[in-house]
């Protein structure tokens, strides 16, 4: 289809767009558009999204500050018209919930030219309302949740169950272990507690950290959060990586990756695995050993009689005996350490798809996920737009209820934090 991109904003052009948005492909059939309109009208939880984005207002306490915080939030959307023209609207902001609803539903209710929004993207809070951007001289992004975006196609070189952007329960495991690590990392190292995990509708997982201190971090601090847990070969791990290794990464690697991704059975996978082994290493002053050759030999010896796990244990024992633990870390981290899309986290102005959007190309609902259920989550069984409209009780209400529950928890935590920070409040 011949698409043309127009934007309402002089400062942004298509290259920068690609940089700020995530995936942007997909088009909409008329039927879907009608359904989507009904979805926005009757189901999309605007009230909860509002609460979620404004509970931790940094403009003071109370309802008024919440509204002010919400008003300055940038929203954006992408609208494909019937003639194939795609419009991107940036720098939108809303002061009433009904306004967003009207905006998403689009302005022309006749069937031939519905300009319903395909998705809703959430940006940062600016120093003034984004719709008034052109009227002020000082327009700067102030606050935003810390966000992490992990896409499964960044794992393509190490997975065999799926390819490209498809995602099954097996490779979901990569994202699940990433999520668990983010939880551990955020809680232990930063004391952050308000984390929301959202399936992005097709190939990824989003994490939103909404604690007040998280909202006000600089871009530099955000980038450092990512850099801090980047692994470089070492035999002494940073404590948080050591904990991650012991409790999450090694168990996941041994119990799932080895078998599910067929590390020793699949020729390409095995070749990749071997390429992670060092050719020669100096141990002590005079001895040089040749791990790659020695391990290859060992593997030939125990061929077929051993399970994947036994083969792996033989390899890791070999390194341990030679006091070369760093190579065990190299391998395990290569297969398990979260592969974040760094720029989504680093750039405070980056936009990210809102929870409860319908993914434009898969039609799947972007559902929040409770971390304790994350291992059982099945990305292929996520409600589709049509099923939401036909059977909302099964396909929608439980998700709404769990999001609502999450927000209640958030409120409690925020109150606790206020009482800790401000001794006069109680």
């Amino acid at each position: 289809m011949d698409t043309q991109t127009k934007t309402n904003d002089n400062d942004i052009n298509d290259e920068d767009m690609d940089d700020i948005f995530g995936d942007t492909e997909g088009s909409y059939e008329l039927d879907n558009k009608v359904s989507l309109r009904v979805y926005y009208d009757q189901y999309f939880p605007f009230d909860l999204i509002y609460e979620w984005l404004s509970i931790n207002s940094l403009f003071g306490h109370g309802e008024a500050s919440q509204i002010r915080f919400f008003e300055r939030r940038e929203f954006s959307s992408r609208i494909t018209k019937m003639d194939g023209t795609t419009f991107v609207t940036r720098n939108r902001s809303f002061s009433k919930l009904d306004d967003i609803k009207d905006y998403l539903k689009g302005r022309n209710p006749n069937n031939n030219s519905i300009d319903v929004a395909e998705r809703l993207d959430i940006g940062p809070i600016y120093s003034c309302e984004p719709i008034k951007k052109s009227m002020v001289t000082d327009y700067t992004p102030l606050y935003k949740e810390i966000v992490f975006d992990i896409d499964i196609n960044d794992y393509n070189d190490i997975r065999v169950c799926c390819s490209d952007t498809s995602l099954c329960m097996k490779c979901w495991g990569f994202l699940a272990v990433a999520a668990k690590f983010v939880e551990m990392y955020m809680k232990e190292c930063f004391g952050f507690e308000q984390l929301l995990y959202v399936f992005s509708g097709r190939r990824g997982l989003h994490v939103w950290v909404s604690d007040q201190r998280a909202l006000s971090l600089s871009s530099e601090a955000r980038a450092n959060i990512i850099k801090y847990v980047k692994y470089e070969r070492t035999s002494v791990l940073l404590p948080i990586l050591q904990r991650g290794f012991d409790e999450l990464f090694l168990p996941y690697f041994e119990q799932h990756v080895l078998e599910e991704q067929d590390i020793f059975g699949n020729a390409a996978q095995y070749k990749n695995f071997l390429s992670k082994l060092p050719l020669e290493v100096r141990v002590g002053k005079k001895t040089i050993i040749h791990p790659l050759d020695q391990i290859k030999e060992k593997m030939l010896e125990i061929k077929d009689q051993a399970t994947s796990l036994e083969k792996w244990r033989a390899i890791s024992d070999y390194f341990k005996q030679n006091n070369l633990m760093e190579y065990v870390y190299d391998i395990v981290f290569h297969y398990t350490l979260p592969r974040f899309d760094d720029k989504v986290t680093n750039h405070i102005i980056h936009l990210l798809k809102s929870p409860f959007c319908i993914h434009p190309s898969t039609g799947k609902l972007c559902v929040p996920i409770d971390l304790k259920d994350i291992d059982q989550f099945n990305p292929t069984k996520v409600p589709l737009l049509n099923s939401i409209l036909s059977t909302p009780k099964v396909s929608f209400n439980p998700y709404r209820a769990s999001f609502k529950n999450y927000i209640e928890q958030m409120k409690l935590k925020s109150q606790q934090q206020i009482s800790i920070n401000d001794p006069t409040s109680f």
Binding site: C189, A221, N224, P239
Partner: protein, 472 residues
């Protein structure tokens, strides 16, 4: 804070009225009160600027750091410009000039950065000869604190990690060997994994206390100067005489972007491909990317565009150059609609009409963090593998590449300078360190001009010789 009198020009011990030197701190945490006169202000400020300039040069000439001879030179400088250490007037001069320079340097980002950098160097030198522990107590008011006994016990294992990775001894596992500080305040230490993070605190081992002090000090200065800036208008109306004096206090102009802003020599767009071969690496990388992919992101266009402007590319030529470079992807009319605006803006033809100066290294590194796949920013901040690949690709021999990559790990500008020397063998004009892409280019121009002249001379000589032969 300050009253001025007009009688004396030299600050002598007995003349200090109301100055309490016991409040003096090497990080200038307290604003002093005393009487002095305008000339004293001017003199001490000029001295301080010269001192800072000398310190920066001293450091640049010895990028590796802390030899004792350097310390000796440093103390020579301090004594020369501030006075003898034990003399109370030295402290007064030090404080007076520091606080005044804050006001003088607050207006432009470049001045401010230069000042903060230089002041941080000054502090770094001072700390290297002092016992750190005597200074640590001062920092509790900057948000540092000691660990509680409970924290010390709970985090035992993590603390062991810090001691172990900093080559400490078991005896260092002591509650006084650690401080904690909000992690946002020590970005560099976090970035390089030199601290343990706990509930939003960065726990720092004593091996990094000096870095920590410098880092805290920089943040504090940044914050303090921002405050001064906000207050400057009031200061000007309240103390017009001082404001007038401070107007004359300027940063030494070795790296003056303005110098490169309006270039008198003209170059044509057709010359760029040839010239690009001796561009600094940052520009070369962007140029190559632009030519092969027909695109460059907004920040890259700004960084490369202002550089080209600085070397003498006029707006018309620039528009032609970019349009041609983009022609792989965008038609001429699309270019006019989507991109031309930015270039006219850069040349001051749109918007507020401000003409943009080329970016200095400092500004490039500050404004354009070098991301994984992005081509703008400073390539010497890339990870070593990528840098190495690019250098080899440009045909730099492996040993030289190794040299440059190694230098980039500690000193990006040294690495750039090495690259310059590689591109310009036997060059004896450039003695300092590259600190501005346009400085790189200007030096390159001088180098080739000299070679041209040499060649002309030798040609003339050989012509004359030929002539001689014919005559014979």
């Amino acid at each position: 804070m300050l009253r001025t009198t007009n009688k004396k020009t030299k600050i002598e011990e007995e003349e200090i009225k109301g100055y309490n030197s016991s409040l003096y701190s090497i990080v200038y945490a307290n604003v002093p009160t005393f009487e002095c006169n305008l000339t004293q202000i001017e003199h001490t400020c000029l001295d301080r600027i010269t001192l800072l300039d000398q310190i920066v040069k001293l450091k640049d000439s010895n990028p590796k750091g802390n030899s004792t001879s350097l310390d000796v030179q440093f103390f020579g400088l301090v004594t020369q410009y501030l006075g003898k250490h034990e003399h109370p007037s030295t402290k007064l001069k030090d404080e007076l000039s520091h606080f005044m320079c804050r006001i003088a340097m607050c207006d432009s980002e470049e001045d401010k950065d230069w000042f903060i950098n230089a002041e941080a160097l000054l502090l770094n030198f001072r700390l290297s000869t002092n016992d750190l522990t005597t200074h640590l107590e001062q920092f509790t008011e900057f948000g540092w604190s000691k660990l509680t006994t409970q924290e010390f016990e709970t985090y035992q294992k993590d603390l062991e990690y810090l001691v172990l990775t900093s080559n400490g001894k078991p005896i260092d596992l002591d509650i006084n060997s650690f401080y904690k500080i909000p992690f946002e305040d020590v970005p560099k230490l976090v970035e390089h994994g030199k601290v343990v993070l706990k509930k939003g605190w960065a726990i720092v081992f004593k091996a990094y206390f000096r870095e920590l002090i410098i880092c805290t000090y920089r943040n504090y200065l940044e914050f303090a100067i921002e405050k001064v800036k906000q207050d400057k208008a009031r200061f000007k109306t309240q103390y017009p005489e001082i404001a007038e004096i401070l107007r004359g206090i300027t940063r030494p102009t070795i790296v003056n972007s303005k110098l490169y802003g309006a270039n008198s020599s003209h170059i044509k767009k057709e010359q760029i491909p040839e010239l690009s071969k001796t561009f600094p690496l940052c520009m070369r990388v962007m140029h190559d990317h632009l030519i092969s992919y027909g695109k460059l992101m907004h920040d890259g266009r700004l960084q490369y565009g202002t550089f080209l402007k600085g070397i003498g590319l006029s707006l018309d030529e620039a528009l032609g150059f970019w349009k041609n470079a983009f022609s792989k992807r965008v038609t001429s009319s699309e270019f006019d609609k989507e991109y031309a605006y930015q270039f006219r803006h850069t040349y001051g033809q749109e918007g507020k009409g401000i003409s943009y100066d080329p970016y200095s290294c400092e500004k490039i590194q500050r404004t354009f963090p070098s991301g994984k796949e992005q081509v703008h920013g400073c390539p010497y901040l890339w990870d070593s593998e990528r840098l190495e690949k690019k250098l080899l690709e440009l045909g730099i021999d492996p040993s030289k590449t190794y040299d440059i990559v190694e230098a980039s790990k500690t000193q990006s500008r040294m690495a750039c300078t090495k690259h310059f020397h590689f591109l310009h063998p036997n060059n004896n004009n450039l003695t300092g360190v590259i600190n501005h892409p346009n400085f790189f280019f200007e030096q390159s121009k001088i180098y080739f001009k000299q070679i041209d002249e040499k060649n002309k001379k030798s040609k003339e000589n050989s012509k004359n010789n030929n002539g001689d032969v014919v005559l014979d």
